[in-house]
Symmetry: D2
């Protein structure tokens, strides 16, 4: 009953097999290998559009690299106050952009409130040399509270930046989890709703360590710059075929969607259990594979002594994360303990 | 009736005279001149302590330089959400620190609320590699709303960081204005209350262009680093004697205090007028030379047509700034227009 | 006959197996897993000393991370003019250090000439605020010309910095290749000769993608800073166990030394062939797995038409790189073509 | 007999007077004042072209600001190995560009050798992601050895970059000194010869502290970016009128040319004296106000005991700098001592 994080889970065996299969003969390095090209082709089909692809070894890297080609060193990035890029990346966006400013906004369930966004935009004029202008709006989907922005919610927020030379970035470390819950297409959840660049995470959903930065057509002209920054940040792995192999197997036969669906199903089941129990209060909609629940002490103790592992969140709640390998038996055990 | 900003005011004639007087013979460059040494000696007397001094040409420069020796590139700086370093310096602190993170806090009258500070500190643990740790608390005195922190208020906030390897910075662009209102000593308002580094502004209070970064004994060991960063940022002016000359004349015979007193007196008088008028609401305590007042449209129009110049503030209020050269006659004219 | 680069070679199967074996159950993320601890223990044995270990995904990353904790943002790094950190990392050291300066030095066979080093040090005084002081000497072993510094050569160069607050860094992307040729111990080639930090590469010698930054006792106090910078640069991979697994298998039973020995043997054999042929001139001592040879056009054409792949180097020579999987048959084929 | 540096000289009295005259009434801050506009108009006449102007407080600042809008953070700047930007600015260009790389080139008399430039360009391909591409060629005029590039020499070097997306920067800290010696027009020495941006120094030639960054039409579209970076670096002085006043008086009636002519005349006279004396060897052409001379010990001692002050240069020579206020009597005294 390990509910600590989807980063503590193992990788799906199919990805290990793919790595072994890729380990034949010589292959061009630094992303010029045929597997990387094949993944790009797969992603064009998945997202129903032309796009540019680049791999990175962590979500922090992919977010910071993407932001660094969207926001100049003297620009600003709007994000939720609890966003991973603001709270959990040790200043990576500031570092990679060369000093860009993050401006945190409030909003329930870790989703940026529209009125807050409007207020921030009203306070930050264009063309005033003393103030960092807004160049990026960053949305996390899933959010830090495990909730999802719908295409309409994204479109509404992206629209607010239409009259500025600004872009919309999506931190999609758990993109698959949001997608299968919303039931829309990858295209609808991204570029059709105004997303310019997506950080598409596989690591938390079955990979060993592989994240993709995807530039949609509106910002594809920045790909050369992105590659230069990837190299300069040490993220252009020499034997890139092994990252590509992971993504290739993960995308094949919709494995990535199946894995996310499993994780989400387990989370929903566990959340349902919590909702039926006195002393537990589920704090946010469970749109993916994360549950935040306020537990009374007795309940928490009972769970722990039954072997359940989970994190205490800064707001006092308990966070339970399911993954592609969480079993129905584990959920049943947790229910038993409750 | 120019109430736009104290940066649009001329310099006090005594400082021009001092520059002319300093313009004799050869003098060592880059701060090794005798006038700079004399200013440092004067400041030691003013602040009743040993200290290290370095000049900069703008408040943005002095703040960013000071912060860059207090906060590592992967650390965080707590400041008020309306602080100059967060809103009006185009990301200079992020740039000078090499990517440090600013975390904005709320609080009435642009002073950091204690509960907000406590909440932020509780949310940011020490020793957690993923989160930028708090390394600086920055207080503006005067604040962006023209209010002053008392020594007790500073001490209270500084005390909250006592168990962290963190420092307290004061943005004192209008330090003199706060000081003469509070009636305490410079020492009481700074190092005795827990301030480690002060950015001590003269430009807004009668200088042509001169700001001092002052390191108090608790951080004096960082002076060599500060000089290296001053040089590297192009702020080590070759003919430093001309900055020193300004500060020298400004500190002589308490001219700096007289100038601040005059500006404050004018502001208090104008504020009193506003308080007696229907249609005007003074929004913050007037602790220095700035008044923020909500004006009804008719009043605002009347003032403008009488020749009064002032800024519309982002929150909808009107900002009036007095300076060392604002006259009683101008205040009387403004009253007449009201 | 692929002699393009050791980064185009596959990984050794034992490392794939190790990854598969590590893919069981949940494991702490971000380097807190038991395999990472086991690799650190192995390295302490290999280097006969206490040390600190951190993984990175590329040589560029490990070099830049190491340099960033040795050189302040206003310091300088001495390196050979052809060093990878100067020529082939797209400014990564400048980026990671926050603006540190690289000062390139000359020397035959890509090894820093002692007289050049002395001249550079004489020109760069300590304590002169206008000049970036020397804070790091970086040595590449193997060098960019495939030559090795002996322990005595390292010691001699490191000794020149003894009276400065400076450190010695080794770019060991091909450390194993140098080591087996020199026949000394890892300790003798590093900390005993004055090396403070080693970037220990496995990728070019049989790994999928794994580099280690090793801090020896003289700089172990910088490990916390190194971790913060690793995180901030996006190099703290969530599922670190998969990097650790590679290193673990690579170090086990001296596999890493066997792989390097094979690559070196093949290179020496090929070099011997070149030396016996008219129209080929081997330009540098072959101390590892790289041969730089000036070929007349007919010879080059003959090799290419026989299927040999190799790079044209900027100086006009041809570079042949062997790897752990280069076979004797390939060397024989090359000889046949010659 | 102070020959230490033109930065130790006082300012010309006309500039002090201009500052006093500018100290009337309120004036818009941050460069929006009428005097700044007037200086820009004057410069357009001087350089016979449209241009954009921005002030900075030091040569280091103006160089680094100019370079930061010409070179991306992952690009490279070619300069002479002895260039001020490489040797004497503590890494300011690396800092302001966000990590750009300086590549030092050799050449007699501190002027970049054409063959060296060609070699460097041949070694640095365009479009190779691993190597920082050349984006700027920086020429110092006067050079660090006091020599001048002629328009033809500039044109020849600038032409080498024609097929790259690269720019040519001139460090003109002593631009006036070069100009009056060459006898060409300011336009001929800059944009007509291929210069895109000029750092035009006044401080060493009679100002208190004022340097101008000038963008010629080829790069004028970068002015908004330059202003943003000026602000972010703390170089947008609030009361900019006092910098403008200096430049205004300096440009009026060709005062700047007269001052440079005086300094150059004195240098030429002193150099002639050295050339006539046994035991002194003038090392470089004296194209401006600097003389580098190898002195035997007796001569050096005689000069010092007669009261002459000068610097020992790193190469063992003695540097004598004359300035606008060096008198014929001083030159005569020096001759007497010789």
């Amino acid at each position: 009953m390990n509910f600590l994080s989807d980063t503590t889970a193992p990788a799906h065996p199919a990805l290990i097999d793919a790595i072994a299969a890729a380990n034949r003969d010589f292959a061009p390095s630094y992303g010029a290998d045929p597997l990387t090209a094949q993944v790009e082709a797969r992603l064009k089909a998945v997202f129903e559009t032309d796009l540019k692809l680049l791999f990175a070894v962590s979500g922090t890297a992919s977010n910071a690299l993407a932001l660094s080609v969207l926001c100049p060193s003297h620009g600003a990035i709007l994000c939720h106050d609890e966003a991973h890029i603001h709270r959990d990346e040790r200043g990576a966006p500031e570092f990679f952009t060369g000093g860009g400013k993050l401006i945190p906004l409030k909003g329930a369930h870790a989703k940026i409130d529209l009125a807050e966004l409007d207020r921030a935009l009203a306070e930050i004029p264009e063309g005033f040399v003393h103030t960092s202008p807004v160049r990026v709006l960053s949305l996390s989907n899933l959010s830090e509270s495990g909730t999802a922005y719908s295409p309409a919610e994204i479109d509404e927020r992206a629209g607010r930046l239409q009259d500025r030379p600004a872009f919309v970035h999506m931190d999609g470390a758990r993109f698959a989890n949001a997608l299968v819950t919303l039931g829309c297409t990858p295209a609808e959840l991204t570029w059709k709703a105004g997303i310019d660049a997506l950080c598409f995470g596989a690591t938390k959903n079955g990979a060993l360590g592989a994240e993709a930065v995807i530039l949609f057509p509106s910002v594809m002209d920045r790909f050369e710059e992105l590659q230069a920054r990837q190299k300069r940040a040490g993220h252009m792995a020499p034997k890139m075929r092994f990252m590509a192999a992971q993504f290739d197997a993960w995308l094949a036969d919709d494995l990535w969607l199946d894995l996310a669906r499993t994780a989400n199903d387990r989370a929903r089941a566990l959340a349902a259990d919590f909702r039926n129990i006195d002393g537990a209060e589920v704090l946010h909609p469970v749109d993916g594979n994360e549950i935040f629940v306020r537990l009374d002490d007795a309940l928490a103790a009972r769970l722990r002594s039954a072997g359940a592992q989970f994190y205490q969140w800064p707001d006092g709640s308990a966070r339970f994360v399911t993954s592609w390998c969480t079993t129905e038996a584990e959920i049943a055990s947790a229910l038993g303990a409750l």
